[in-house]
């Protein structure tokens, strides 16, 4: 289940209805319910800044690959849910050549063989392409591209392909002229449709889809016969096709050298990776007809590469970024998908430039291929080879897209360039040249020592409180449960240390039969008994580890100690683990006392709400111990995961240095009680221990000249100016990079490449390379159009957290609001009068003067949400909790970050409307997708049950006027006997209402890696009810005005400026 990407737009239902109406109108206008022209559909996909209709959607749907539409935050999954039947037909009518296999009446165009056609729909790789070009709109496109300053540089190579080339530089999601098509008038470019359009792309015109004659490979399945453009050009009516046919394609003579190359360089075959290309090979086998092109052109044997008719020093054209070749957005996502060429422009538009990097994202739709061939890198900047480099001298040399250095291609990596496509002939066996994400198996030069075994060292506080709260039991049970699923199989290592006012070491040597315990009471000078068996192989010592855990559980029952010397325990753990590296998991119940790392309790009640509050969020001086310790851990490849369970003040702000520097993770359970929080803790601990993890890793981001990397956010340590040291890295860590423009950029594209070198749990050293190429534009409207609200919001929040720590919370709140005003003012001032109506949106009829770019129309909503969020709120908040969320917000991925600011709000009751649209019968509970509601008390009723999901907890609101039968159906008891203190979760009852409620909660949980416990809020609860209503951020609350008030205020401020 992929993650949901977005919070809902409050008006999403309305918008959707509107759009449906519009669409119907449009269809009527075009007569006979004919579909909008494909180009329009196309267009709308780009501009489809449809508010993320998450609620309806992504819960139920694995998020498909969304179009790369910039500023389109959510995959347009709604469409997937309900593609109206007429659309399907449209598809057939509008794409006659491509769908001729489905409509037998249409004559098969050129040599599209039936088998190939049959094979085509099965391919997934081509299905995501969305742009479609015909002769009519090519001129328009080229205009648009002119705006973009993207050259149609391909013309010199393909002189005859004039009708198709303009589509070439058309990056999906990148500019097309904004005025031609109304924004989002057709909300239905369903992904399902896309999948039915495998032929949707002009072959010759698309550099990513080379019609390589041989070896045909997966991606070429859609072009079964290598050279026939017509079959792949969906739009033009048949007459046009015929016209195009003679000149629309590369001549056969041009094919000749390619044949020659293939003769001369047969070794390309050996690079094929059979597992990955099985499908393609099957296709090869079943292709019954000889390739007409091969028959037509006799192979010219023995033509050496140097005599090839390619002019020397001729570049292949620069590869245009498209969704297919860019790194998927789940791994790396830019705040602006078009970059201004100079710093002054950037500072003028005020949109923060940056990207989020999520190297271990769980993206099942886009797995990263593992490549074992030579690692080719630029000599100068050390960038890795990627799809956006350009080839010279027929493939003999390549130009680095990061630093423009011209490099020689290594002998064993050489492959000739296919003249028809401008691509290497072996491109399909080189996934690293096809897509901007790849993982190379690193050679020994990338290692400084043998691969480290996955190692987990537990440092457990066994003080009185740990036992009383039930933490210890809970922890031991979950450790035991996860021992079988730890990464690293037979290599994993485990060690345990417990502490109160003394340290207890456990010798787990397998030959002993039972664990030996050593107690060290001397705390001033840490002494680790000189044995090496404190960190042992999990598999060899499995039984002894189990008995050791049991021992700890039984033995510590008697402890009454309240001293907790965390500092000493960590020092000892560092001594034990420093030779190995890995992870230290710390479970801590008290604020640390003891000789090392003692943290005095800071008085906070009196300073809350004042300027001094900031100091409570920063590490105190005594916390330097943890900073130094963190640095020491980081240099020994150790990361620290910290679980805090204190009842009282525990100084999260000081302790969080440890996970922050070492790339670990922080969990905080205020006033932990096992009966209430135990499940959450156990789930999180088990997740921490069993998730796929990369070890002893370093990450570096390389950028083209002119782009500077300013600040990184996340958990890391900067070893040198651009080298992030990450002792462990996993799916729950994301990094946000703030960038700037240091020089005027002269190139057409800038590249940003992330390289993460890590040790896989299986012991291989690997380099994960993520590359993004972004066009440089010179006009303001485009910059606004291609802004990405998700990353922009996340960047603003991270900058505001920095600001809060540097000055004060009120400054941070102000900075957030000012940023919004600045961006919108800049938009207003750069907007030309003509473009205003077509590309801008207003938020409310009452604020007609407040114009927003389509891409950023949710910005004010997020600003309101952020300002009222617990991270920045003016409400008096426990500094521990605030520091915890500040820490988390810097680390969590984009989805969690945005959903924390703007939580999802669902009704847990089925409504009458949720019936099958065709039959009118009520749908079974399992197939209804809940709708997200606007975060406002308008939506709330005392007669309902609602849940609010913010990624950390699920608040379940039960109204007192809710029908008793419904309450009984869902909870199995009546309203009065519901107790928030003991409520654990929904029990299973066999009725529709209960099934539906459980399904919604299950879906809400499936979207987050962090386990969310359910907090029951009864509408008559004096304590929890205000907490819940303060999460309804669109209302006026104590912390600030309502969303509507904010918009009015925004309009005023912008007009003033």
């Amino acid at each position: 289940m992929s993650k949901r990407v977005y919070p809902t737009d409050p008006n999403n239902m309305l918008v959707q209805q509107q759009q449906q109406q519009q669409q119907q109108q449009q269809q009527q206008m075009q007569g006979g319910g004919f579909p909008p022209m494909p180009m329009q559909q196309q267009q709308q996909q780009y501009q489809h800044n449809q508010p993320p209709q998450v609620g309806q959607v992504s819960l139920a749907q694995p998020t498909g690959y969304s179009s790369y539409g910039v500023g389109q935050p959510t995959p347009p999954t709604t469409q997937m849910i309900s593609p109206p039947p007429p659309q399907q037909q449209n598809n057939n009518t509008t794409y006659p050549p491509s769908t001729n296999n489905y409509t037998p009446t249409a004559p098969p165009p050129v040599a599209a063989t039936p088998t190939a056609a049959a094979a085509a729909p099965t391919t997934v790789s081509t299905s995501k392409r969305q742009y479609v070009v015909d002769a009519d709109n090519s001129a328009m496109l080229s205009n648009a591209m002119g705006n973009l300053n993207v050259n149609n540089s391909s013309n010199h190579q393909y002189p005859t392909t004039t009708t198709t080339t303009p589509s070439n530089p058309q990056p999906t999601g990148y500019p097309t002229s904004p005025t031609t098509y109304p924004v989002a008038s057709n909300p239905m470019p369903p992904t399902t449709q896309q999948q039915q359009q495998p032929y949707g792309y002009p072959v010759a015109s698309n550099p990513t889809m080379p019609p390589t004659p041989t070896p045909p490979t997966t991606t070429t399945v859609s072009n079964p016969t290598p050279t026939y453009p017509v079959a792949s050009n969906p739009i033009p009516p048949t007459t046009q096709q015929q016209q195009q046919q003679p000149y629309g394609y590369p001549q056969q003579q041009q094919q000749q050298p390619v044949q020659g190359y293939q003769q001369a360089y047969p070794q390309q075959q050996q690079y094929q990776q059979p597992q990955q290309y099985q499908q393609q090979q099957q296709y090869n086998n079943i292709q019954p007809m000889p390739n007409p092109m091969q028959m037509a052109t006799q192979p010219v044997s023995n033509v050496p590469y140097h005599q090839a008719p390619t002019p020397s020093h001729q570049y292949t054209e620069q590869v245009v970024p498209t969704p297919e070749n860019l790194c998927p957005k789940s791994y790396m996502r830019m705040s602006m998908n078009a970059i201004p060429h100079q710093a002054s422009t950037l500072s003028k538009i005020h949109i923060p430039l940056g990207c989020t990097i999520h190297p271990f994202a769980n993206d099942e739709a886009n797995p990263i291929p593992v490549i074992s061939s030579t690692i080719v890198r630029c000599k100068r900047c050390r960038a890795y080879i990627n799809p956006f480099i350009s080839w010279m001298d027929g493939g003999g040399r390549w130009r680095c897209n990061v630093c423009d250095m011209i490099n020689d291609t290594p002998q064993d990596y050489f492959s000739p360039i296919d003249l028809t496509t401008g691509k290497r002939a072996d491109i399909n066996t080189r996934p690293e040249l096809v897509r901007g994400c790849a993982e190379f198996l690193a050679t020994s030069e990338y290692t400084i020592r043998g691969p480290q075994p996955p190692s987990y060292f537990f440092v457990i506080d066994v003080c009185y409180e740990s036992i009383v709260s039930g933490m210890l039991n809970c922890a031991i049970e979950s450790i035991k449960a996860s021992l079988d699923n730890m990464p690293g199989d037979s290599r994993a290592r485990i060690g345990i240390l417990t502490f109160d006012d003394s340290l207890h070491f456990y010798n787990l040597k397998s030959s002993f039969g039972r664990p030996k315990m050593y107690v060290v009471t001397e705390m001033d000078n840490i002494f680790v008994p000189p044995y090496e068996e404190f960190l042992v192989n999990l598999k060899e010592s499995r039984t002894i580890i189990d008995s050791c855990l049991d021992l700890i559980k039984q033995m510590e029952r008697k402890t009454q100690k309240v001293e907790s010397c965390l500092g000493s325990a960590l020092k000892a753990a560092l001594q034990i683990c420093q030779g190995v590296g890995g992870k230290i998991v710390v479970l801590q119940s008290y604020i640390p006392r003891g000789p090392f790392g003692k943290l005095p309790i800071r008085e906070f009640q009196s300073v809350l709400g004042t300027k001094k509050e900031t100091q409570l969020l920063q590490p105190q001086d005594a916390g330097d111990f943890y900073k130094d310790l963190g640095l020491a851990c980081s240099s020994h490849h150790l990361s620290v995961d910290l679980f805090l369970f204190a009842t009282g003040y525990v100084d999260v702000a000081s302790l969080q240095c440890l996970p922050q520097i070492t790339g670990g993770e922080l969990f905080y359970f205020p006033a932990f009680i096992a009966s209430r929080d135990g499940q959450t803790f156990a789930a999180n601990l088990m997740h921490t221990l069993t998730r796929p993890t990369g070890w002893e890793s370093v990450m570096r981001v390389r950028t083209s000249r002119g782009i500077s990397t300013n600040v990184y956010h996340g958990n890391y340590f900067l070893k040198s100016s651009d080298l992030l040291s990450l002792p462990t890295v996993d799916a729950d860590k994301s990094f946000t990079l703030q960038m700037g423009i240091s020089d005027t950029i002269t190139s057409k594209y800038v590249a940003i490449q992330t390289a993460l070198l890590y040790t896989h749990s299986c012991g291989e050293r690997r380099v994960r390379v993520l590359t993004v190429s972004v066009p440089v534009v010179h006009t303001f409207p485009e910059l606004f159009k291609y802004a990405d609200i998700a990353v922009v919001t996340s960047l603003i929040s991270k900058m505001a957290i920095d600001k809060a720590l540097a000055s004060s919370l009120s400054d941070a709140r102000e900075a957030i609001a000012n940023k919004c005003v600045d961006i919108l003012t800049a938009y207003k001032s750069t907007l030309s009068s003509g473009a205003a109506s077509s590309s801008s949106v207003t938020l409310s009829p009452q604020t007609p003067k407040l114009l927003l770019p389509e891409s950023l129309k949710h910005l004010p909503l997020y600003v309101v949400a952020m300002v009222k969020n617990i991270v920045f709120t003016s409400k008096a908040t426990n500094p521990d909790i605030r520091a915890y969320f500040m820490h988390r917000m810097k680390v969590v991925d984009l989805t969690s970050c945005l959903n924390f600011f703007y939580p999802q709000f669902y009704s847990l009751l089925r409504t009458a409307q949720q019936t099958d649209q065709t039959t009118g019968e009520p749908l079974p509970s399992t197939s209804i997708v809940p709708t997200t509601l606007k975060l406002s008390s308008d939506q709330l009723s005392r007669a309902g049950i609602f849940i609010l999901v913010n990624g950390f907890a699920i608040y379940m609101y039960v109204g007192e006027a809710c029908p008793p039968q419904t309450v009984f159906d869902v909870f199995g008891c009546d309203f009065a006997s519901l107790d928030p203190m003991t409520f654990q979760g929904l029990s299973i009852f066999d009725n529709e209402q209960s099934r539906y409620a459980r399904k919604v909660i299950e879906m809400a949980r499936a979207n987050y890696s962090e386990y969310q416990r359910i907090i029951l809020v009864k509408s008559n609860d004096r304590q929890l009810n205000p907490e819940f209503t303060s999460l309804l951020i669109e209302d006026r609350t104590l912390e600030g005005g309502s969303y509507y008030e904010f918009i009015l205020q925004l309009q005023q401020r912008i007009q003033k400026n």
Binding site: D621, K627, V711, F717, L718, S720, S721
Partner: protein, 140 residues
Amino acid sequence: MYELSTTGFDYTMLLALLSSGVLLAIVVYELLLLTDLEGNDINSIEFCKKYNKFIMPEYIVQAVFTVWFLVTFRFVLFLLNAPVLYYHFQRYQTRTHKNDPTKVYSHTSKMGNHLMLKLVFYMVMFFIYLFVLLFNFFSD
């Protein structure tokens, strides 16, 4: 105006001259460290270890002489030094005087500017001390 009214060999000035020479040396050393850091020749931990060693001596020397100028009624020299003393005091007070290896990269350019300003200041002071010393020496 006591500075220029002393006659004979002024030992205070001589010591001040020497101290400003030491301060200059420290600042130059810090600048060198900073360029090393920017060129990735040393890592941030090493940089901070080396750099932080010299911060307190620098502050103390500067503070001692500023106070000494006040005690010996050399008000002009005191006033010249006072802003820097205040700046150092502020840094010390807010605990920002020491470099934090985890944050050092985010303000290298700011640090460079600070160091350049300090270099100029100490150099100017050096020549003022020299002038006062020589003026007094030759004034009779």
